[in-house]
């Protein structure tokens, strides 16, 4: 067979994952220096101040809600579910990209994931924390929130396991726990790296404590890698299950617009879609500001944009099939629910959703667009807007006009609703800024593993092979 020589930059093999000038030491330096000698303290402090204010706003809104009651929100009689569930689903969805990158792409041996997985996993955890706030505060009598858990108390009434809302407690709780374990396990070797570079005793102690005495032993690496693979294999069905269970909250009801069988995979696709948009939205400024362009390269961003196009198209597929089957069902309530979505009083929400999620990402069919920083920031922003509106459309348009025209109503959020949403972004960004300040935002050990010199027989400097 004639050999076909392919140079490193050609479309068959693709660009190198990390730019060529890096060696093991320079990767360590590039990532650790962000934590050790933060390059942009001023911008970080300003961002932290803004995000922290958002967090304060969230806390104030929650305090006001607890003090006064659910009446401060816009929910009313036909629309009993408003911003709280919309925000919950939105934030859980954002988290999904992290698990996809860390687990599913790992199983598929997509090595480009290594530069962004830490980042995305952190995002998962913070997004799930934001999500968990909402079911916690929306129950009305928050002091009874612990009834959601199967704990014995004097009435001996147990949680109702036939309720999809209880499945949520288990699904999201498990998701948070497993994501945290996965993320922390990935951090252990990198924390050891920072420990070994530490110059001050406090740093050495703190990073030393959390790196658990890791010493890069190959016998440890062997078990560690197996454990990592197992966690990835567990996280993959888990991530499918989480948004599926979230979709069950809606789809097990017999309300038109909620009850449709494609909801589970459609929710999962949408979640991955919005999550990737958020990763792009955060990774672009981070790599600019922290000088990580040679590690988080254009190739990574382009790959993510391809996934945004793919999952956006899946979401578009689901919208189309839902519409078709609503008509095909011959059921007037089904048909009305969808007409009302697109042309009823909430038409603006529907078309915002459709434009942002289906039409705008289509620009990614062109390579130029996938590789343009301004374009991807704009698209990522719109996708997040669109995915938030998707949950709004599903929740509100289906509820506000149900079977009985006599009970129709209209829902508008109050200022408290809106401030709580803004505040949840404050919580997210506060946690995120703390993360990039104190923890290595790129998986150092994994990056080294994909460098060409990480493999035996790389054949430089007169290797004896």
């Amino acid at each position: 067979m004639g050999t076909i020589t392919v140079d490193r930059d050609d479309p068959i093999k693709g660009k190198p994952l990390v730019e060529a000038h890096h060696d093991f030491g320079s990767v360590t330096d590039a990532v650790c220096s962000v934590v050790e000698k933060p390059p942009i303290t001023k911008a970080w402090w300003i961002s932290f101040f803004i995000a922290g204010s958002g967090l304060m706003l969230l806390l104030a809104m929650i305090a006001y809600l607890f003090w006064t009651g659910i009446g401060v929100w816009g929910v009313n009689n036909p629309v009993g579910w408003g911003f709280a569930i919309v925000n919950f689903v939105f934030w859980v969805g954002i988290g999904h990209a992290g698990t996809l990158i860390s687990a599913i792409l790992f199983l598929f041996r997509q090595q480009w994931r290594t530069s962004i997985n830490r980042f995305a996993e952190a995002m998962t955890i913070f997004a799930v924390i934001c999500a968990l706030v909402f079911p916690g505060i929306h129950v009305g009598r928050v002091w009874f929130a612990w009834w959601m858990f199967p704990l014995p108390y004097q009435q001996m009434a147990w949680p109702q396991f036939r309720s999809p809302l209880l499945w949520d407690v288990f699904a999201v709780g498990t998701y948070f726990t497993v994501s945290l374990l996965f993320w922390y396990m990935g951090l252990i070797p990198d924390l050891a790296t920072i420990r070994d570079r530490a110059t001050s005793g406090i740093r050495r102690f703190a990073y030393g404590l959390f790196s658990l005495g890791w010493r890069g032993s190959n016998r440890q690496w062997h078990v560690y890698e197996r454990a990592y693979l197992l966690l990835a294999a567990l996280a993959t069905p888990l991530v499918l299950s989480v948004h599926s269970v979230v979709s069950f909250d809606f789809a097990v009801a017999n309300l038109p617009g909620w009850h449709t069988t494609i909801f589970p995979p459609y929710f999962v696709a949408g979640a991955i879609f919005s999550g990737f948009a958020m990763v792009v939205f955060l990774a672009v400024p981070a790599r600019e500001l922290y000088g990580l362009k040679s590690i988080i390269t254009m190739r990574h961003l382009e790959s993510m944009n391809k996934i945004i196009l793919a999952t956006g198209s899946m979401v578009g597929y689901a919208y189309a099939i839902e519409f078709f089957v609503a008509w095909y069902s011959g059921n007037i309530y089904e048909q009305f629910a969808f007409q009302n979505r697109a042309f009823g009083p909430y038409w603006w929400a529907y078309w915002t959703m459709a434009s942002c999620n289906v039409f705008i990402p289509q620009v990614y069919w062109f390579k130029k667009m996938r590789r343009s920083i301004p374009v991807m920031m704009v698209v990522a922003f719109f996708v997040n807007v669109g995915m938030w509106f998707e949950r709004f459309v599903i929740t509100v348009t289906s509820l506000h006009r149900d079977f009985l025209p006599g009970s129709w109503g209209f829902y508008m959020p109050t200022w408290v609703d809106i401030c709580t949403l803004i505040g949840s972004f404050g919580l997210f960004f506060t946690l995120f800024l703390l993360f990039i300040r104190f923890l290595p935002m790129v998986a150092i050990a994994e990056i080294k593993g994909v460098l060409p010199q990480a493999h035996a027989g790389h054949g430089h400097e007169g290797g004896e092979h």
């Binding site: 067979m1 068959i12 693709g14 009850h259 909801f263 089957v325 069902s329």
Partner: protein, 402 residues
């Protein structure tokens, strides 16, 4: 750690296996057709039953080739390296679409029996059906199938043709062209597969509707195609072909795909069941009601256990994925159980009180299966069994799981 594989002495052409396959397939098909005809004209309601069994088997063989298209297109879309050595087999499976177009003809003649609910002239008196007769009517049905087959034939020919051409030219442009067209191809594939599933299966019970059904059909298609690819490759190796090109590592990956899609199929099936069972809306629940009536109940449990639990436990360990003796059994098992699944989605719509087994279910399987083998012999015989000059071939040969 790069392994070098010596392929100099390897036989990578179908050679005399082609005529052998054609002969065996032809004989099986001929016997199957004769037996089917005999049964159709002698048994009670034989002709009626013929069309029903035919639909079940058609759904089965169509799904294999659809899965083949999916495999080929997705490899190009993702720029996969590992799969190159088995891709030619998938291309041949996909290229059987032309044969399936021919096999569609009996459905055209059987529509009055198969889809009697909505082909009945009195259908319009049912208010639910009246609303959807704009979609469910014979001319539009046939036009749609024309479009589906046009797309499937063009897509499968294109990818097979480009790949075969590359064997002689060695031009990277073929790879780039296939990569470029794989994205639109997957979009077309998704839409046509979905609507084909709606038309072929969902409209058997025109009151019933489920948005996920297209995904369900796709999941089974992909799963069985992976099994068929593995099976074909193992058979070729047993006959002394491609003995070096396809290694344990490739089987390991095919096994992982079988495992993943076993779970995916169960996930989709469970999603559909859970939502319909929980909401309990009459026109939807009816579909499952048929499947828990009479002897269909044990059959449904059987599907759950045999299509999910058994293959899940079988493929979870790495041993069966890396051992050909085990995998051969597992792949054959999936191909059989997927047939049972197709039986389960179609038959209860005609026989709502319980299983009515007919020998024609089996004879038609052999009739169509024989023809399918002949088609595969043709597809595989056209060129080398491995894409000889694919730029990723070297990577695929050296591929190792770790």
């Amino acid at each position: 750690m790069k392994r070098t594989i010596d392929r100099s002495s390897e036989n990578r052409t179908l050679g005399d296996l082609g005529p052998l396959l054609t002969r065996v397939g032809g004989i099986v098909a001929a016997l199957g057709i004769l037996a089917t005809l005999a049964l159709a004209f002698t048994a009670d309601h034989g002709v009626e039953r013929f069309f029903k069994s035919y639909t079940t088997n058609f759904a089965y063989f169509l799904s294999l080739s659809l899965g083949g298209i999916f495999f080929v297109v997705i490899q190009h879309l993702t720029g996969a390296t590992w799969s190159v050595t088995v891709r030619r087999i998938a291309e041949a499976i996909a290229a059987n679409m032309l044969l399936l177009l021919g096999l569609f003809i009996p459905i055209v003649f059987g529509m009055d029996i198969i889809y009697h609910h909505w082909t009945d002239p009195h259908a319009a008196s049912d208010p639910v059906l009246a609303a959807k007769l704009g979609y469910l009517n014979k001319p539009f049905f046939l036009i749609r199938w024309g479009v589906y087959f046009l797309i499937w034939v063009v897509v499968s020919r294109f990818f097979h043709g480009q790949s075969v051409k590359q064997d002689t030219t060695g031009d990277i442009d073929h790879t780039l062209r296939m990569q470029k067209w794989s994205a639109p191809a997957i979009v077309l594939f998704a839409l046509t597969t979905t609507f084909a599933a709606f038309d072929l299966i969902m409209s058997l019970n025109p009151h019933w509707y489920s948005t996920i059904l297209g995904v369900y059909y796709f999941a089974g298609s992909a799963l069985s195609a992976f099994a068929l690819i593995a099976m074909s490759s193992m058979w070729l190796q047993a006959k002394g072909r491609i003995t070096q090109s396809v290694t344990t590592e490739h089987y390991h990956d095919l096994g992982k795909l079988c495992f993943a899609f076993t779970i995916f199929w169960a996930y989709i099936g469970f999603s559909q069941f859970m939502l319909i069972w929980y909401a309990n809306i009459p026109e939807e629940t009816e579909w499952y009601l048929h499947r828990i009536t009479g002897s269909w109940l044990p059959f449904s449990w059987g599907i759950l256990i045999a299509h999910f639990v058994v293959p899940f436990l079988f493929f979870i360990s790495r041993v069966p994925k890396r051992s050909r003796a085990f995998f051969r059994f597992g792949a054959a098992y999936i191909l059989i159980i997927h047939w049972c699944d197709m039986y389960w989605v179609t038959m209860p719509e005609w026989y709502t009180d319980g299983i009515h087994f007919s020998l024609m279910d089996i004879t038609l399987f052999f009739a169509m299966g024989g023809l399918y083998l002949v088609g595969m012999a043709r597809g595989l015989g056209k060129a080398s069994l491995v894409p000889e000059k694919d730029p990723r071939l070297e990577g695929s040969l050296a591929f190792e799981n770790y």
